[in-house]
Amino acid sequence: MNNNRITDVWGARTPYAAGTAWPVRVDTHLAEGLTEHDVDRWVQSASILHSNGDALDIAVKDERIVGVRGRAVDRVNHGRLDTKDVYGWQANESKDRLTTPLIRENGTLVETDWETAMTRIVDTTRRLLEEQGPSAVGFHTTGQLFAEEYYTLATIAHGGIGTKHLDGNTRLCTATAAAALKESFASDGQPGSYTDVDHADVIALFGHNVAETQSVLWMRMLDRLAGDDPPQIICVDPRPTPVARHATVHLAPRPGTNVALMNALLHEIITNGWIDRDYIDAHVIGFDDLAKVVKEYPPERAAEICDVPVGQIREAARILGHAQRLLSTVLQGFYQSHQATAAAVQVNNLNLVRGMLGKPGCGIFQMNGQPTAQNTRECGADGDLPGFRNWNNPDHIADLARVWNVNPDDIPHYSAPTHLMQMMRYVEEGSIRQLWVSGTNPAVSLPELARIRALLSKDDLQLIVQDIFLTETAQLADVVLPAATWGEKTGTFTNVDRTVHISDKAVEPPGEAKPDLEIFIDYARRLDLRDKDGGPLISWSDPESAFEAWKACSRGRPCDYTGITYDKLRRGSGIQWPCTEDNPDGTERLYRDGAFFSDPDYCESYGRDLETGAPVTATEYRAMNPDAKAILRAAEYIPPHELPSEEYPFQLITGRTIYHFHTRTKTGRAPELNHAAPEVWVELSTADARSAGIQDGDLTEITTPRGLVQAKARITDIRSGVIFLPFHYGYWDTTGSAPDGPGRAANELTLTDWDPASKQPIFKTAAAAIRRVSSAAGTSVPAGMKEGSR
């Protein structure tokens, strides 16, 4: 095993100065014994194991994937690879791959053929539509399929069956990013560009452990830090992450207090006049309301709520307030926490009041958590409508109906599409009786797993799971469909800075596994879904024709793909949308000179009340923002819903390690990655460990009102009062779909609660207790794991 990128996760430095080009560094990794000369062909693709969008070529030899090489020419990574990509491709060939459809007979899953499996699904859909209607059928997809697949599924669900029940697991990671952008800009669409790292003099990371979640982006930041004129780093994170170690100021607030902290930073910036008054007057509404709210949050107040030193808050504000080119990024530390949208919106407010948007170095990344999460939002597979259309605007519905050639009333728009946790509630109380899960593993990734396992196992539910391995969720299914994965099918996908990449098919899928696109198209054909003229609703039959259909749908909308073709994507680098006749090479930044997508007739969303989640009406929005400006929205701090108590004195947060992606279905099957982080662990502070009599390596038991997990202790500089569990460790490689005895999946412990505005579940503020179970007796934690957070 070549372990270079396990012990040296970010690889060699290539320092560069502000305003210069980031150097190229091509990372290559091939199977043991092979060199580049042995490779038959290189097939163009990008990463599927994180959200950064790192372009790479897949090495093929003897019709097998034998390695990967970063694409030097690509604007996102300049040749670099994340450690998961270096090794993760090996999982494609795992013997565990699903190769035939399965159906449940007499309680057991048995092999069958596609005809039988699809007939069983379609018969159920037909029966439910007749008995109850579209409200009985739901689709739960992922953030790891291609744009073509999402667009097909969205058309089937919203345009064909007419159900509102379609959402992705992106609800768990990226929903708040989209919601925050809609609050501030009335439309989704990341304003910044990765090239902003090249120019920024201050980079502020809010709840974003970029070093482990988008490691190539971190490499870009590290290279700036090693060069002339390094940026200052502001880091907000309760853990001592690699980002925190490089930070000029590291704020470690109590989980759930982000709004208070942000309000204090804004308080300082506004009070000291570190604002761009001209920009605010010309391009922004809501300043007076924001100023009024944050006036009540002097640093002293936030210091008390957040348990962060007043001096640190002032220092961070001073640095943010004096930045010439400020790049702000946000991820799960904000998105999966209490008051998620409200907190993420304050980051938008920060850049807006400073006028730091739409020019080099001045950007906001409301980050994504999955490789194709962006596409679920654009194509309408995650609770939005395709093309960033506004479900609350009848003209947009009419327009979408024109694209699909259906009647406007066929597209349900009497309220927002159903979000995932509400869909689960409907499954639980029995009004959804067919749930089709594609490419995701809710039995490990949703909160409160005991509840999820119970509802997915209900007798009155037909659970369909379309996946590449027999995951914990698939083990509970009534029908299992074997799918092709990355490298085995062609499609396009998009990262957080709007860069679109193509992923070409390199090898055949195993056995009878099929591309997700083919499975969805087959379903539509069997259901005989038609448009209003009697033609097939799904008029495309392969990836390229699906892409062309998606392009047509995107025409004129903010995420305009009309200037992109497969041919263009294959010529070199990924291309950023909007890419149109006027911008044939794509668009580096949005909102240059304050040109927003927020006109009432054009915008995607009128926004929601940050505290109640109630949608803003068209009338209210029109009155509020007739001139298409950006919107500053203020929020008061509300304490978290589950606070520590005497019985549960800690705050539990969950998160990631660089070595694994999600529920480890792939990374757990790549030997180097699995070996680097084979087992769950729990992080706690030195002081808390001492009080609890816990030593490094001891087996501990963590409990919340929901359940119990056992994990070995790692003592770190995490802030006291907080314990951390990685969420990757389910049971597919141990007991099957559920624990037998003490659990190890972090979500045994998390609570069922979500942000009212974004509907994103809260994984980062459960009240927990920890106690020692047994001593380590000399067993130490594997060295590989210590590369990450200490």
Binding site: P412, M421, Q422, R425, E429, D609, I638
Partner: protein, 160 residues
């Protein structure tokens, strides 16, 4: 001047709304968004009650400044999975009716704030007007929330 009686009336209505919201939260543990947000919104009413009590002394009324939590039902926070799975399930239409009640109570309070606002302007009572300006928007947001929940939940309830 007849400000006093209006203050008394709003105060009583806010007490009702406070308890109604807490009861809604306790009754619908298995509808997490209702359960959690109703509790947050109850705190707004609690704050209004304190403000009303404070200003009421200027108009010759003695109003209770604190809410009494004894009245709120103390249903257990924990729920069994059988409850969640539809047995003893209090959701569906019952939830829609209860949300309607919240909406009606909140809209009744909102219109009383309007009365108070008009009276305060006519009598040039700026402190009183300030209380209305702080409280009325929150009452309207409570009302909007109840309606938004009804809009979101009723399609599924009514079609299944």
């Amino acid at each position: 001047m007849k400000i006093g009686p209006v203050l008394v009336s709003i105060h009583r209505s806010e007490m009702n709304l406070y308890h109604d919201l807490l009861q809604l939260s306790a009754r619908y543990v298995t509808e997490p968004e209702v359960h959690h947000v109703a509790k947050d919104l109850a705190q707004w009413s609690r704050n209004h009650i304190a403000k009303l009590a404070e200003i009421a002394t200027d108009y010759g009324e003695a109003l209770q400044a604190e809410t009494s939590d004894a009245r709120a039902s103390k249903h257990a926070e924990q729920h069994t999975h059988s409850e969640s799975l539809g047995i003893d399930n209090p959701s569906g239409l019952a939830l829609l009716w209860d949300l309607r009640t919240i909406h009606m109570t909140a809209s009744g309070i909102a219109v009383q704030w309007t009365m108070l606002s008009q009276g305060a302007k006519a009598l040039q009572q700026s402190d009183l007007l300030s209380v209305v300006t702080q409280c009325q928007p929150e009452t309207q947001r409570q009302q909007t929330w109840a309606q938004a929940q009804i809009k979101q939940l009723s399609p599924q309830v009514l079609s299944s």
